[in-house]
């Protein structure tokens, strides 16, 4: 990889950002850590080679606001959003605002590294990224119409009961569909499922 490609890690928790720097450096990346979104903006590099890995919930400027600033400043650095638990709704917002991926803490290194690889290779022809999308697309294809309806409800953040009401079926049936969707999509968690659905562009 090019030496000018820098991964900017923004997290208000010092242990998290240092451990992330350690992990990424062992994987061969040049890393710069920032304790806040503002600190990052102040040190914003001229070169747009690289990517940003930012926590979404931070005191001061949060990850979403940072995205807005980067957009208005016409800085094209790809952003990967890291979330704590229960921030799925926020993560979905971030994805809609242009983040290229979101990852839940604590995460598997392979997941983070894959996201960074595809962020850095964003403008290049990215075989890995396309293969990933194709795979998600295949899994989506395997869903029945009803399962797809349930998936849409889940991506919209609706609880089972509401989905059941919307579709005019019992909550118990929704649960079964939901279980099937998770299995077919090979999702580890609800956030993983939502992430795949959004990445593939199938979100409502």
């Amino acid at each position: 990889m090019s030496s000018s490609q820098i991964v900017h890690v923004i997290d208000d928790d010092v242990a998290v950002r240092q451990s992330m720097a350690f992990l990424l450096s062992t994987a061969g990346y040049a890393v710069r850590v920032h304790e806040s979104a503002i600190a990052f903006l102040q040190a914003l590099p001229d070169s747009e080679d690289g990517c940003v890995v930012t926590d979404i919930r931070m005191p001061g400027m949060d990850g979403l606001e940072l995205q807005g600033h980067l957009k208005s400043m016409k800085v094209g650095l790809p952003v990967i959003v890291i979330t704590g638990h229960g921030d799925i709704a926020l993560a979905v917002q971030a994805m809609k605002a242009g983040a290229i991926d979101f990852i839940e803490k604590p995460f598997d290194d392979d997941v983070l590294l894959a996201a960074i690889r595809s962020a850095l290779a964003r403008n290049l022809h990215n075989v890995e990224r396309e293969a990933r999308f194709a795979e998600i697309g295949r899994r989506l294809q395997s869903l029945s119409d009803r399962e797809r309806d349930v998936l849409e409800g889940l991506v919209a953040g609706k609880p089972n009961k509401i989905i059941a009401h919307d579709l005019g079926i019992s909550a118990r049936t929704v649960e079964v569909y939901r279980a099937n969707v998770m299995t077919k999509m090979r999702a580890d968690s609800l956030s993983d499922l939502v992430r795949m659905a959004i990445l593939s562009g199938s979100s409502p």
């Binding site: 992990l23 638990h85 803490k105 290194d109 079964v176 099937n180 609800l190």
Partner: protein
Amino acid sequence: MEQMHSPMPQDLKGLADALEAAEARLQSILQTVPDAMIIIDEQGRIESLSTTAERLFGYVKSEVVGRKVDLFMSTPHREQHDSYLKRYLSTGERRIIGIGRVVTGRRKDGTTFPMHLTVGELQLADRHYFTGFIRDLTDQQLTESRLKELQSEVTHMSRFMALGEMASTLAHEINQPLTAIANYLKGCRRLLERMAGEQALVLRDAVSKAADQALRAGDIIRRLREFVARGESERRIESLPKLIEDASTLALIGAKENAVTVSFRLDPAADLVLADRIQIQQVLVNLIRNAIEVMSEGGQRRQLDIATVANGGDLVEVSVSDTGAGIAPEVAAQLFQPFVTTKRKGMGLGLSICRTIIEAHGGKIWVDTPPGGGTIFRFTLRAANEEDRSLVE
């Protein structure tokens, strides 16, 4: 009653008429007054009583007029009433007259009820009459005790909510160090991958496993938090025997050292269930570990039995039984409440969380205390049936 106070005989006929009129007025009052009213003489004999009083105590007037009023009372006032009257008449010291108090009334059928009693006094020439006004407090006390019950439920609930809050705050705080731990370990593994030698290989394996455990802890917290926040869990169609096998592998660590023998009786018909794997394992681990703990406190026979039964319907039942000291019935009744524990060091949260999980799964959890001793915990899960499987395609 005015007439009674003026006994000057003007005209005997007129007096008799006046008496009759007074009596009729008194009777109409007694029939319509909404309170229970009893009039007694100074010996405690019933002179008259209101219709409400008849109804309240379950007697008809003719049964009680002339009898001692203590038949409306329960021990100890029943036995003491005569002496109360004597004391008042000799000393004039008022203990209830004009004061009123809550006492226990006794109905014809022997049942008792709380009542508020006020006594008024009437003096005619040198004779005393007493009028008792009675309010039945049954409803009021019921309301009060229901209120107390509700209050304690709310207290429990708010504790439980506080627990949910605590869980989610804790989850967020713990995630940060977990993330750092996983990052450092995964980084170490990457470095070790580039090192040669057998020790590097062993280290790499160990470090990798440690990192996986950090991620697993994160997974448990995530599910717990989602569950607390939304009351929903990630349910899949799971194999029950596999769930039990995985959970017991984890929970039975140390069982042999404690000389506990384990047996499984799994019903082949109890196969697929709709469950959150991690949560149900949590329940199983909890129950199995409790059982081992109880049995390791003493006793010759240490037999742990894990069984499943398909009841043919919508549910399958899982039971974990031990041959420990058993549970006192009064404890058993509230065993699943938060902060109730029989352990010296317990928080009393394990079984309450188990109940929350099982109930969220549409099942029930309860405890049996068989006459032969020991304890059996049972819970039900929803079976995934043919219909569910047909929804898959």
